[in-house]
């Protein structure tokens, strides 16, 4: 059944597009609905614009505060209900002064939060603070409607079912045709018999197999063909030994490049900073993760996919916290660390010297050139074969980026004269010599 999968592509496409359009309409509805629900609820604060407040909150407060849940500072939702507004103005403008003045509440807050002094924000006007308070006073939105992705999933599954139905029907038709053919030939035979036409019995024929064996030429050709074919496959098998393209091992922490580099557009070199200066791109040390994850203890609902739930992702972040020794509740490092044992994906043999900085900084290559569309990878895999042929191929084709690099000035002038070209490939620069990578 699967083999005929391509033949009903039109109906499949139709179904698929239908499913997709449905899915999108659902998503857009959901996105519209959520903020609407939030703003509809009237708030017990007067004179504050929650939308401006949200902006201010994100740019000034979010580094240390969350609406719900403790970060470096306490959770801020409903802060207006807990504290006097004048007190808040004072606190935000200069918390240190307030603490010094001996305000009991201020000292309590200070001590509750590991005695981390809050940055003073004298630049925020009282109006600004009102806006922020308005934002923090919004009631927490309900859990969003059933996930649009899930809906899309079911529809596509329906599509799959109906595909099967169509395939079954088609097969049935074919079967009927075969039966009909058989019946027709039977009828014809009967008609012939009735009309007295003698159907000559088949002469005892040599089996095709024996005939083949007798024909030495055919045997020769066939065996040559067989040998060549098997040689082709054996060669193919041997050439993939040690080539781990698409190698995607299970990692101790399910790290999604899709979420980080794709959805959140974090630059590759933010985490893999060593790629700029070192031969290794470097797996980021856990303190780099904590630059963000100190504040991101859980993923947004929207991040979850049918395959990986929010709980699953949150558990991964928890694994990071365990590894780095971060106590989420107390917002402190415990000092107990368990380094993460990642499974290395890109392995070059020891006899190959490869330097990331040469390619990333000097040549200015995109990471994706060799590592593929990492920003779409939920599970990281090896994109390129990493064979020598693959390296050489690129060195032959790629022009060296020489403009503005003083190092190349002399050699470019000389070589371009020698070869009579303006652009030089890595190969022309000597990038194919054994000793450039093997020492």
């Amino acid at each position: 059944m699967k083999k005929v999968g391509n033949h009903n592509s039109i109906s499949r496409k139709l179904f698929f597009s239908l499913a997709l359009s449905l899915a999108f309409s659902l998503t857009s509805f959901a996105q519209d609905a959520a903020p609407a629900a939030a703003t509809e609820v009237p708030v017990a604060t007067q004179g504050g614009d929650p939308i401006k407040g949200k902006e201010l909150f994100n740019s000034n407060c979010a580094a240390c505060h969350k609406l719900d849940g403790k970060a470096t500072g306490p959770a801020l939702r409903g802060i207006a209900d807990r504290r006097d507004k004048q007190w808040l103005y004072k606190w935000i403008h200069n918390s240190a002064d307030l603490i010094k003045s001996g305000d009991a509440d201020a000292i309590k807050v200070f001590e509750e939060n590991n005695k981390v002094a809050m940055t003073a924000f004298p630049q925020l006007s009282e109006g600004d603070i009102d806006n922020i308070i308005a934002y923090t006073s919004e009631v927490k939105a309900e859990a969003p409607a059933p996930l649009p992705g899930a809906a899309a999933g079911t529809t596509s599954q329906e599509g799959g079912l109906s595909n099967n139905l169509i395939l079954g029907a088609l097969a049935l038709v074919m079967l009927m045709l075969v039966v009909m053919l058989f019946l027709v030939s039977n009828v014809l035979a009967k008609v012939a018999k009735a009309n007295g036409i003698e159907v000559a019995p088949n002469a005892p024929r040599q089996s095709i197999w024996k005939a083949f064996v007798r024909n030495q030429f055919l045997v020769l050709v066939a065996s040559v063909f067989l040998l060549l074919a098997s040689g082709y496959f054996v060669y193919g098998y041997l050439m993939q030994v040690g080539v781990d393209q698409d190698y995607a091992p299970i990692q101790p922490i399910h790290f999604s490049h899709k979420i980080h580099a794709g959805d959140n557009e974090i630059n590759c070199k933010y985490c893999h900073s060593a790629a700029r200066v070192s031969k290794n791109a470097g797996i980021p040390s856990l303190n780099v993760c904590m630059n963000c994850h100190k504040n991101i203890a859980e993923v947004a609902e929207a991040t979850a996919t049918p395959e990986y739930s929010k709980a699953f992702y949150d558990e991964q972040i928890q694994k990071l916290y365990t590894a780095v020794g971060w106590d989420k509740a107390a917002q402190t490092y415990t000092g107990k660390t368990e380094p993460v044992k990642w499974v290395r994906i890109h392995n070059l043999p020891d006899f190959v010297y490869f330097n990331h900085s040469q390619h990333v900084t000097v040549a200015g290559l995109e990471c994706q050139t060799c590592h593929g569309p990492v920003e779409t990878y939920e599970v990281q895999k090896q994109f390129a074969p990493l064979t020598m042929g693959w390296c050489i191929d690129c060195h032959r084709k790629t022009d060296v980026k020489m403009e503005g690099n003083e190092y190349y000035a002399k050699i470019h002038a000389e070589l371009s004269k020698k070869y009579g070209v303006e652009k030089l490939t890595a190969a022309q620069m000597g990038g194919l010599e054994c000793g450039k990578c093997h020492y």
């Binding site: 030994v241 040690g242 781990d244 091992p249 060593a274 200066v277 070192s278 031969k279 290794n280 470097g282 797996i283 980021p284 040390s285 856990l286 303190n287 780099v288 590894a323 780095v324 020794g325 660390t337 380094p339 993460v340 044992k341 990642w342 499974v343 290395r344 392995n347 043999p349 020891d350 006899f351 010297y353 330097n355 990331h356 900085s357 040469q358 900084t361 000097v362 503005g404 690099n405 003083e406 190092y407 190349y408 000035a409 002399k410 050699i411 000389e414 070589l415 020698k418 620069m429 000597g430 010599e433 054994c434 000793g435 450039k436 093997h438 020492y439």
Partner: protein, 1016 residues
């Protein structure tokens, strides 16, 4: 007539004839039960495994193993939890530090990768004066020595530091109560902070005293200097200022008074404007200084003393009666007169261990007003007092020493009378040995306190007066160790660590700068005043002239370039390092002059497998001390009547079995005198040496080492003294450099690397050999493999003798040969080095030929040429046919006969996890069956290029370096890009002294040598 003597191999054989008969007829005593199995037809036929089945199993298992091998291993990668700011994986960091271990000292730059030190380089910042020798280069491997003392021990049992602290404190309190002596026995410290701490310790413990002990003593020179200038120190000679150097038994290019003089010396040895320094050497053993000298006179130490007085007479115009042997008189007089004529440009040094002799050295240099004789900034690296050590041993045996705290010394091994010391130690209540290894002394002490390696320690040094350098750790302590100073602080009741103490204490030494700056630079140079003083030199001369020659052999003890005082005996790099003079590794031996060897029947011979064998001899002293079965090397140039023996060998404690080689010459080091009177007798048997250079002389092959005299060099055309070899082309004699079998490539574009080696400046010190080991992960193969000529050194320093007293003499003799019979006999004679031959050193590594013979014969194109001039070797492509090695005229290719890493058959550093930490991650570790050779440190040139590319700038001259050129402290090796016409190496390659090795072969090498010029 054949004798009827009966030969037997064992007592059984002699007494029980029947076994002998049986053995004679049958190799195996018991019959091998082949019939039992093969003869039994039933068993054979009923066996369920037929021969075919067997083959099937073999085939299947082979195929299965092959298939399994197709599955790649899973690699784990563990990033830092908290990455230190300055560490980027894959990028090397450099830290400045300084080392002084009581014997060697240097200002260093330590290269670390991912937080582990992998190589030491010379600190090139101005003021960092002392460069690393071979042993300091190798010290990085001693850090990763698996035989180090890993935790403190009390009575041989592992203990905690708290327990050690309590133990020492209790003992000190007890000593105080009982009034018993407390003695700190240390090596020379040269550390202002440690000395201050010790001062405080003595203040706290009134019965305490500090005894400084140098295993290899310079006590007499110190005494003499103290007498004249009132300060216990050594002169830091500046040989670059001398145009005439007379050395009376001082191996100043070796370890004399700490060594480290080669940089200054080499400056004067490169002919500039037709001038270079002249060097007379009067010595007994053949030393590096003797090899470099223009005129070397081999003479016994007794004669040297007379010669010194004779020179003193000439220079000062005195007339002390001298009994100098007539045969030396002319040469010594010449040296003395030229020294006097040189005036302030002359300098005299002496290694004679006699206070009077050392006083004369001061007197002569004072009269000359020698510029090289600098009394400011004196060396602080030897302070030991022979008298005080002798007194301590007496006190110990008298039972008056209550507590003995030792640091950095191993007296049980290094004292001649170690039995007396061990006896005394038994009477000491508590003995504490601060030691990096559980050495001979630590084993018999109450407490063995594990100290960190210098690369794990804090400290400060004042190597010369007025300079201040810091020692900083470059790695966390690998083991549960504690610095001597930290313990001392706790004993003094101070809180904090020694780091705090040094930092607080440093302020008074580094006025005008900051701690961070000094820590970054490694050194700080202050000011130091010149000294003046005088003594009764005439009396000293009279006293010295009274010394007599004895009829016995004069044993001259010395330290080998590779081993020094023996602290690093467990270092496989140093053990395998071939001695520059004898080219023997893994041994110490007696060096005997040719004449004495003949008289005593001692000999060396090369046996069938190419190995060198030598006789054994037994040396005995008058008081009965004996060293039995000491192997003998017949040493050309050894003064008749003298024998040499190196200290530092024969250690056993905390050494791998392979490293327990040689004999302990310290047992003969009576009264800390390096000259002893001994008798010499031949012993039975032959010793198997691991000698890497079979050939002995150059036999006038002038195109390997070209030599000339300064006179010819100055007056004649370069074609005369730097002859280009001629070849025949179309029946015409033409210069070999003009003929070429091959088309030349255009090498004018990009970089073209050349390495220039000046034979005038090379002293054969071997720092480059060890640096190459460290940089390129060169394996150690062990004694028996070296003996089979399977050493793996990528860089060797060939040593050539001449059969005449000059190399030119060789040439003349060769050219005067007439007829076949004469040629045969003459060549045979020329094989033997002369009694006082000239010596030349020639570092040889892959010559990176532009027309490389190795490249054309490789069947798999594993070796090929790069356009930057490097002959490249792709190990992964090599199948090990060894055609290349056979076709190489320079014999620089090395074959991996075995797997040298993770192989218990080669139990050196690459066989344990700790030792492998020294490996350079940028260079491949080669496997079995692969050819390897010098790569011209392509990983270093590539790194330099990449750095420039990243920074977007052109490369400046001097940036390109190789491990050897970096390590070369004399400036003999210069590396660079000849396409950069302004570079130093381009000028050197174009110099008229430059030539290529075996030019007539037409290989067009990228290594350039410079004709050696002697100022005879």
């Amino acid at each position: 007539m054949s004798s009827n003597k009966k030969y037997w191999k064992s007592v059984e054989e002699l007494e029980n004839g029947s076994i002998v008969e049986a053995l004679r007829n049958n190799e195996f005593v018991e019959a091998i039960p082949t019939d039992e199995f093969l003869g039994n037809n039933d068993a054979m036929s009923s066996s369920s495994t037929s021969r075919r089945d067997f083959l099937k199993y073999v085939g299947f298992s082979t195929a299965a193993a092959t298939l399994v091998a197709c599955e790649g291993p899973v690699h784990k990668s563990i990033p830092y939890v908290l990455q230190p700011e300055q560490i980027i994986p894959g990028v090397a960091d450099y830290y400045a530090t300084s080392v002084f271990d009581g014997f060697d000292f240097a200002n260093l730059l330590v290269k670390t990768r991912e937080g582990r030190p992998i190589k030491v380089d010379n600190n090139t910042i101005s003021g960092a004066k002392f460069t690393a020798n071979a042993r300091v280069h190798a010290s990085i491997l001693s850090l990763y020595d698996n035989m180090r003392l890993k935790e403190p021990k009390i009575e041989g049992k592992a203990a905690t530091w708290a327990a050690v602290d309590t133990k020492i404190k209790t003992s000190l309190a007890d000593a105080k109560a009982k009034g018993g002596q407390v003695v700190l026995l240390t090596n020379t410290l040269a550390s202002p902070s440690t000395e201050k701490l010790i001062g405080e310790f003595i203040a706290n413990n009134p019965t305490a005293k500090h005894v400084v002990y140098d295993a290899v003593s310079s006590s007499e020179a110190l005494d003499a200097f103290e007498t004249v200038y009132g300060e216990r120190a050594l002169v830091d000679y500046d040989f670059s200022k001398a145009s005439l150097i007379v050395s009376v038994g001082a191996d100043f290019l070796g370890d004399w008074q700490g060594g480290g003089y080669d940089t200054g010396y080499a400056q004067g040895r490169i002919p500039k404007n037709g001038k270079m320094s002249r060097h007379f050497q009067l010595e007994a053993n053949m030393t590096l200084s003797g090899a470099a000298a223009d005129k070397r006179v081999p003479m016994s130490v007794a004669n040297q003393k007379q010669a010194l007085v004779h020179i003193y007479n000439i220079v000062t115009g005195s007339s002390v009666a001298v009994s100098l042997d007539a045969k030396f008189k002319a040469e010594v007089t010449k040296a003395g007169q030229q020294l006097k004529a040189a005036g302030s440009k002359g300098v005299l040094v002496s290694g004679i261990q006699d206070k009077n002799a050392q006083l004369l050295v001061l007197a002569i240099n004072q009269v000359l007003a020698s510029e090289a004789f600098v009394t400011s900034g004196t060396r602080q690296i030897r302070k030991g007092s022979n008298e005080k050590v002798a007194q301590l041993i007496k006190d110990m045996n008298a039972g008056s020493v209550h507590t003995l705290i030792m640091s950095g010394v191993n007296p049980v091994y290094t004292l001649a009378d170690s039995a007396a010391f061990v006896g005394g130690l038994k009477k000491v209540q508590t003995s504490v040995a601060f030691s990096i290894k559980e050495d001979e002394t630590a084993l018999v002490s109450t407490v063995a306190a594990a100290v960190p390696h210098y690369l794990e320690s804090w400290g400060d040094l004042s190597l010369t007066k007025g300079t201040y350098s810091l020692t900083q750790p470059v790695i966390r302590p690998l083991f549960d160790t504690k610095q001597f100073q930290d313990v001392l602080m706790s004993l003094n009741g101070l809180s904090g660590t020694f780091y705090d103490y040094v930092k607080a204490n440093s302020a008074s030494f580094i006025s005008g700068t900051t701690w961070n700056k000094v820590l970054h630079d490694g050194v700080f140079v202050g000011v130091s005043q010149s000294l003046s003083g005088s003594a009764d030199y005439a009396a000293a001369a009279g006293e010295l002239a009274k010394s007599k020659t004895s009829n016995d052999f004069e044993l001259v003890l010395y330290t080998k370039t590779g081993m020094g005082d023996g602290q690093q005996a467990n270092n496989p790099w140093l053990q395998e390092f071939p001695d520059p003079i004898t080219r023997v590794s893994w041994d110490n031996y007696l060096t005997v002059s040719n004449e004495d060897a003949k008289a005593l029947g001692l000999s060396n011979e090369i046996v069938a497998n190419g190995g060198l064998d030598g006789s054994y001899a037994t040396i005995a002293m008058a008081d009965g001390v004996k060293l039995e079965s000491v192997p003998v090397i017949v040493q050309p140039g050894q003064a008749v009547g003298t024998i040499g023996l190196a200290l530092g060998y024969g250690r056993k404690a905390a050494l791998k079995e392979e490293m327990q080689v040689g004999v302990n010459a310290y047992t003969l080091y009576k009264g800390f005198n390096d000259v002893q009177s001994v008798t010499l007798v031949k012993a039975d048997g032959a010793h198997e040496f691991a000698c890497v250079q079979g050939q002995k002389t150059l036999m006038g092959r002038g195109d390997i080492i070209k030599e000339t005299s300064l006179e010819i060099f100055n007056t004649k055309d370069a074609k005369i003294w730097n002859k280009v070899p001629m070849v025949s082309l179309n029946h015409q004699e033409v210069e070999a450099t003009t003929v070429d079998l091959w088309d030349s490539f255009d090498r004018s574009v990009g970089h073209h690397f050349n390495l220039s080696i000046d034979l005038n400046a090379c002293t054969g010190c071997g720092a480059c050999v060890i640096a190459c080991h460290a940089e390129n992960n060169v394996p150690v193969v062990g004694k028996s493999e070296v003996r089979r000529s399977r050493d793996m050194h990528w860089l060797r320093i060939d040593r050539y003798y001449s059969s005449e007293s000059t190399f030119e003499g060789d040439n003349e003799r060769k050219e005067n040969i007439a007829g076949l019979s004469s040629s045969l006999s003459t060549f045979n004679e020329m094989e033997k080095a002369g009694d006082n031959p000239q010596v030349s050193f020639q570092p040889v590594m892959c010559q990176h030929c532009n027309h490389a013979p190795c490249e054309t014969v490789c069947p798999v194109a594993a070796t090929s040429h790069g356009r930057q001039g490097q002959n490249q070797m792709a190990y992964n492509r090599c199948v090990g046919t060894r055609y290349c090695a056979n076709n190489c005229p320079y014999k620089v290719r090395r074959f991996n006969w075995f797997l040298y890493n993770k192989n218990s058959e080669f139990d050196y550093h690459m066989n344990d996890d700790l030792g492998r930490m020294v490996l350079n991650p940028d260079v491949n570790v080669r496997s079995r069956g692969v050819m390897e050779k010098c790569s011209m440190c392509i990983q270093m040139t590539q790194a330099t290029i990449l750095k420039a590319k990243r920074e977007g700038r052109a490369i400046v001259d001097g940036e390109f370096q190789t491990a050897c050129s970096n390590a070369c402290s004399t400036g003999a090796m210069v590396f660079g890009d000849v396409n950069d016409t302004e570079s130093q190496v381009a000028k050197l390659a174009a110099d008229e002294r430059s030539y290529h090795l075996l030019e007539h072969v037409g290989t067009k090498p990228n290594v350039v040598y410079h004709v050696k010029v002697r100022n005879t």
